[in-house]
């Protein structure tokens, strides 16, 4: 990786972070995540250099995506699962993503309040991040943050996100196992499947089973019936359904053992590697898309005309294709 030599102090930053991340420093890992999430253009070379340097130390975790509607108990379950795997000698890292306000760009990040015990555990690392305008309830840099956690020695990485909009698809597209959290008393299995996200799930969890054990068992049964109608994502794994009460701890061990079975079953046929390969290529294209879009938006001629052209399209004075072409020409990209 060629870092610009004109910035010696940047070079030392990424070296310092490399040493720190490999040496197990929390502070260094936290700052490394900040660096890769940074939107400052001149941070990009150091971020890339750091990721490149750490690359050979990545990939060593089970990457779990966890999503569900607001209030379904994601953080509570993540804490219970995290503490459970700590007890088994694992080192979990949690990347919790909270939506940023579309109005102010700011955010309130409160996940750790519900992971008080895990936040104290020496073996764990929890990093809440604002989605900062990225689509689908993940940050633009979550995949890189996963790799940094792996390089720091964390062997279970959980990406927790609110299940709105594109979130499930995004998270499932950057993790090995996708866990979908549902409440037992909200709708039946068929309805859930119609929503689409269920198709992506490797494990479906009915949370808060302590509130109504009968409802949870019933929901579980109906979901199993419904799932039998679906074609599984991988031929090596049929999605499982478990009921969990994070409050009493019931079902947490079972959830973890399902995830372990999942990992074994997929690893046996090389499906995890294949999944990650596909994800990497997709990731490359995502980054290209994002960069093209942002350099397009950064073009001064485009910036000058954009509002007026948008308005013209909205009024119907200009067709969308004409407008797109006009803007691309302005950016020096269109056919002209």
């Amino acid at each position: 990786m060629n870092a610009p030599t004109s910035e010696p102090e940047r070079l030392s930053l990424q070296d310092e972070l490399f040493e720190g991340v490999r040496g197990g420093s929390r502070r260094a890992l936290a700052r490394a995540i900040t660096l890769v999430e940074s939107t400052r253009p001149d941070d990009l070379p150091s971020a890339m250099a750091l990721l490149e340097a750490l690359h050979s130390f990545t990939g060593g975790s089970l990457r779990i995506g966890l999503s569900g509607a607001p209030g379904v108990g994601k953080s509570t379950l993540v804490e219970a699962l995290g503490l459970h795997v700590v007890g088994l000698g694992h080192r979990p890292a949690v990347l919790a993503v909270d939506p940023s306000s579309a109005v102010s760009g700011g955010s309130v990040l409160g996940d750790k309040t519900r992971m008080k015990d895990l936040a104290r555990s020496e073996a764990a690392f929890i990093r809440p991040s604002p989605s900062a305008g990225a689509r689908g309830g993940v940050t633009a840099r979550t995949p890189e943050a996963i790799e940094l956690c792996e390089a720091a020695g964390f062997d279970v990485v959980i990406v927790e996100t609110v299940g709105v909009g594109q979130a499930e698809i995004e998270v499932a597209g950057m993790t090995d196992a996708f866990v979908l959290l549902e409440l037992p008393f909200a709708g039946d299995g068929l309805q859930a499947i119609k929503r689409g996200s269920t198709e992506l799930a490797d494990v479906i969890v009915y949370a808060k089973a302590d509130l109504d054990a009968v409802a949870a068992a019933g929901a579980c049964e109906r979901m199993n019936d419904a799932l039998s109608l679906l074609r599984p994502v991988s031929s090596a794994w049929r999605p499982r359904v478990v009921t969990v009460s994070a409050l009493t701890g019931q079902g947490v061990a079972e959830l973890w053992s399902e995830l372990e079975h999942f990992q074994e079953a997929l690893a046996a046929v090389g499906a995890i590697v294949a999944r990650r390969q596909r994800q990497s290529v997709k990731r490359m294209w995502r980054l290209i898309d994002a960069d093209l879009r942002s350099s397009f938006l950064g073009d001064s001629a485009v910036r000058e005309q954009l509002a007026a052209i948008e308005e013209a399209v909205a009024r119907g004075d200009m067709t969308p294709s004409m407008a797109a072409n006009a803007l691309l020409v302005l950016a020096g990209r269109g056919p002209g």
């Binding site: 400052r40 607001p70 990040l109 104290r120 929890i126 604002p130």
Partner: protein, 505 residues
């Protein structure tokens, strides 16, 4: 619910003249619930307790007469009187529906406390008058007992002098004014009867809403109740900060000079040491074996649902088990409740739409973000035994509306916890909200802990109640700024941005 119904059952049988439960709205009031919301949620709580007692087979008239209430009384004079009058009306209806027969079961009896939130740190002698007005509203409303706050409580724990004035406020109403010689003196006033009816109607609607969510337990569990309150709190603060709601000496008619008041200072370290020593003494002198057995019985009782938990707790406490040990014994079975923390956003900012100072502050935040490569990130933390998080939550919500990324920490954290969270979340600054007098010990400990964890560059701020005399010491310990009561969110943001290390260039 199990604990409450056990308490009701035990006291009904063994302590028939004891007020079994004080069903509180005060904490809701102080957290920001306006009168109708406070009233509704409190009565809905009461209803839930009664249902729990009925579910275990008790007769409603056996216990209902000993339930009592506890409301907060703020500065909205007529409305607060109407609130207490409406409370009696609605409770009578609720208890009728529950099948109560005895007049005592239908009667709402209540304690009231003047509002702590309404007290100002600026020009604090004004608080004597505020408390007197609130006390008057409580008495006109027909409260059975009353707690008047001391005028210096926005600054510190009350001095003896301030406490005496607060007590005398009650005595004057009781013994000099003859006000207490008349029951319900506002009855028959068209204005008051109308206010009472409106209050009752509004509260009934909210109670029905809570019922439709499955009762108050579910409503609280889902975070619904908390969100209702927080929304109101953010709005209220925005109105005060913008000057729409007048607070004399705070946002209007400011005193030209600051007159210092004598306040009580507390040596935290000494208090902690004394308390620890007493605890050691208690533990050394008790029969450890018997205590363990009693605590095990308590845990078993929680699990089996057979024995009365208050009975078992009294047995354990008689053997000198501590409160902490008893709650640990129960926690083993039930875990610990954690409040949902999905804070509100957009509410504070909405009231500032179009304001020039607000727009400038937003622009400053955006400029910081583009220079730094990310938004200014602040951890709003609560340290130690301090459960007052209204201020922290309003500040968090307002800063997010200005474009900050705000981490909200849990209650009751240690300096180690907060420092670690600051490190992992890689925040620019930590703002500690302190309202229970722990600042002199806890803030220096936090700064030390940040240094130890390699994050000495994280700027530390304090907000809340810090006596003027302590401010200097905090500055010396490395606290960048102390943001006292009356600081607007815009001022907060400005101070934070100035205190955070300059964005990288």
């Amino acid at each position: 619910m199990r604990i409450v119904s056990d308490i009701i059952a035990y006291t009904a049988r063994h302590m028939p003249r004891f007020n079994s439960v004080s069903i509180s709205g005060y904490h809701l009031h102080e957290a920001g619930a306006p009168p109708a919301l406070e009233l509704a949620l409190t009565l809905a709580d009461g209803k839930e307790y009664v249902k729990a007692a009925l579910a275990r087979g008790m007769d409603v008239d056996e216990f209902a007469g000993r339930l009592s209430f506890f409301f907060g009384i703020g500065m909205d004079f007529y409305v607060e009187i109407a609130k207490l009058r409406a409370a009696r009306l609605l409770w009578w209806r609720i208890m009728k529906d529950m099948g109560a027969q005895r007049p005592a079961s239908l009667m709402l009896r209540t304690h009231c406390q003047t509002s702590g939130w309404s007290l100002s740190a600026q020009d604090p002698h004004n608080n004597i008058v505020r408390t007197a007005i609130e006390a008057l509203a409580a008495v006109f409303g027909g409260t059975q007992s009353l707690h008047t706050n001391a005028f210096d409580e926005a600054l510190a724990l009350p001095s003896d002098f301030a406490a005496r004035v607060a007590r005398n406020t009650q005595l004057m109403i009781q013994e000099e004014t003859h006000i207490t010689g008349v029951i319900d003196p506002w009855a028959g006033s068209y204005m008051m009867e109308r206010l009472t009816q409106d209050m009752a109607d509004r509260a009934s609607e909210i109670i029905a809403q809570a019922d439709s969510l499955g009762g108050m337990t579910r409503a609280a569990e889902s975070g619904w109740a908390k969100l209702q309150i927080e929304r109101c709190a953010a709005e209220q603060q925005a109105r005060v900060d913008a000057g729409t709601d007048v607070v004399v000496g705070v946002n209007k008619y400011l005193a030209s000079e600051d007159e210092p008041v004598q306040i009580r200072t507390i040596d935290n370290t000494a208090v902690l040491e004394t308390q620890k020593a007493r605890l050691r003494q208690v533990r050394a002198a008790r029969d450890e074996e018997a205590v363990r057995a009693a605590l095990r019985a308590l845990t078993d009782g929680a699990r089996s649902r057979r024995d009365n938990l208050l009975f078992l707790t009294i047995a354990a406490v008689r053997l000198r088990a501590t409160v902490g040990e008893c709650s640990d014994a129960l926690e083993e079975v039930w875990g610990r409740y954690r409040a949902a923390t999905d804070g509100v956003t957009g509410v504070y900012g909405a009231l500032w739409e179009g304001d020039e100072a607000w727009r400038r502050a937003r622009a400053a935040v955006d400029e910081f973000a583009s220079l730094e490569g990310r938004r200014p990130r602040v951890l709003v933390a609560k340290l130690g035994q301090d459960g007052h998080d209204r201020g922290a939550r309003v500040v968090a919500s307002g800063l997010a509306d200005l474009g900050f990324d705000v981490d909200v920490g849990p209650l009751f954290q240690t300096p180690e916890d907060v420092a670690r969270q600051a490190v992992e979340n890689d925040v620019h600054a930590v703002g500690v909200s302190t309202l229970a007098g722990g600042h002199s010990t806890l803030l220096p400990a936090l700064i030390e802990e940040l240094r130890r964890q390699g994050a000495a560059d994280v700027a530390v701020f304090a907000g809340g109640v810090v006596p003027p005399l302590d401010v200097e010491a905090l500055h010396e310990a490395g606290v960048k700024a102390v943001l006292g009561p009356g600081t607007t969110i815009i001022d907060c943001a400005r101070t934070l941005l100035a205190g955070i290390h300059a964005p990288r260039t």
